[in-house]
């Protein structure tokens, strides 16, 4: 099973792909996309293309997204919400929004930079929920 973990951080989309077999999950890919301009049609279309490439290249069975509030003092920024919209519209599978509590319950992934850890944990939490 391919599990894609995603975190939106400012204007960046950090992702980690886990390939899970039974209880065993291995990190297969990780990187970060960037949305350069939230009000440029060309910029949004290019980001959409990059997201489509990501889905074509990773073929996820489920996507774990680190949840960010859409309202309130801690709400996500415009770039994060637009990136989330593009991701969900293009997603070839279900997305599981993973709360901060579930993220914190997961251990760090080996060999990943700090900015990839939330995406790794979102993937792991989504996989654990799926696996029951």
């Amino acid at each position: 099973m391919n599990v894609l973990g995603v975190e939106f951080e400012s204007k960046r989309l950090n992702y980690v792909l886990l390939v899970c077999d039974g209880d065993d999950c291995k990190i297969a890919q990780f990187n970060r996309l960037e949305l350069t301009d939230t009000r440029s049609r060309d910029s949004l279309r290019s980001f959409q293309n990059a997201v489509n490439v990501l889905f074509n290249a990773t073929k996820p069975d489920i996507i774990g997204v680190k949840d960010k509030p859409e309202s309130g003092a801690m709400r996500a920024g415009a770039a994060a919400l637009k990136m989330e919209g593009i991701l969900l519209a293009a997603a070839p599978c279900d997305a599981d929004f993973v709360s901060g509590k579930r993220i914190n319950a997961c251990a760090n992934g080996d060999g990943l930079k700090a900015y990839h850890q939330p995406a790794f944990k979102a993937a792991l939490a989504a996989f654990q929920k799926q696996a029951g």
């Binding site: 890919q29 996309l33 290019s46 290249a57």
Partner: protein, 359 residues
Amino acid sequence: MEDLPEELQAAIAELERDYEQFESHPGGANGYLVFAKNRISGADVAIKFYYGPPGEGRHDEPRLLASIQSPNVLRIIDARNLSKEWAFFLTPRCEDGDLEELIAAGPSAIQAIDVALGICNGASAIHAHGLIHRDLKPPNIVCDRGTPLIADFGSVRQLAEGETDVPASGHSALYRPPESFQTGRYGVLGDIYQIGLVTYQLLGGALSYDPLAYFSKSDHKKYAEITDDFDRSKFQDDAIHRLGAWGRRQTDGLQQFAAMGTLQRQESPTPNDTPGSRKATRQLGNIADVAATLTRVRGDTSDWKWVGDIARLETNDRVIELRPKRGGNYEPLQAKGEVFRRIPSIPDGSLKELVSRVG
């Protein structure tokens, strides 16, 4: 139309019931390409006539094109048999022509990156079907209102179960990855290499299509003594191979382009300025990595554009031009109303220096 084989002329006569304004185009590799307009809808179409002996692989190109659903892969409208040897398929006609024309027009840096991302999207859809394109180059990518569409599927091959590569294509030595010269095999990374090379061209990188440009002095002497056309063609391919299979000429230029604001058009390729390299493909291990890198490069790149031999940057609040001077240096100017005035704080310099300071 008179140049077409009689069989195809008869087919066009039959198509005249539904189509008009037939126009032959010289770009039809492995067949004939004809443009026409639908009499009812008014839609402009391209008709590709292709020839092949009866067999399983005869209709591979239209079948493969039809199997890929992507906004960056040319779609098939219809396909028909004409005879045991001839068949044709119809696609929309793309008014913008192919990528050669876009490259010749000099896209801006951001437009070049956006087109490269579109090509990545089309190629990733092809790879998702277990296919490898093997011939991603400007004449095989058409443009429709700024959107690149991968068009020519004549070299596409299916990866067998458990295999990671297929035999390398004999076409386009200039775009052949270094490892294919050595092993005769071609994998998904080969397509990534070709996307890198096309991106280099889109960003203004010079790539001569004249094989003689890659000859050494001794190559020219030996070449002059060869009379057979096939042997001459093979010698040209071998000369490119001997250049270290491009390995000496191409390293990780993608990062270099990002760093220098992507302006390189007037500088010929140097050993370190081309993106489609072995090192680059090691760093960019799959097509998602390429797309991710391009989104970040896009954010770091100023939208320079060539206007003739002047490099021009237009932003919301200013217009800057770098105008060439004698000796290869450039002079930085900024628009003040209708007039361009010299930027006093910045001395003349090389293109690389000025793009880095001004952009």
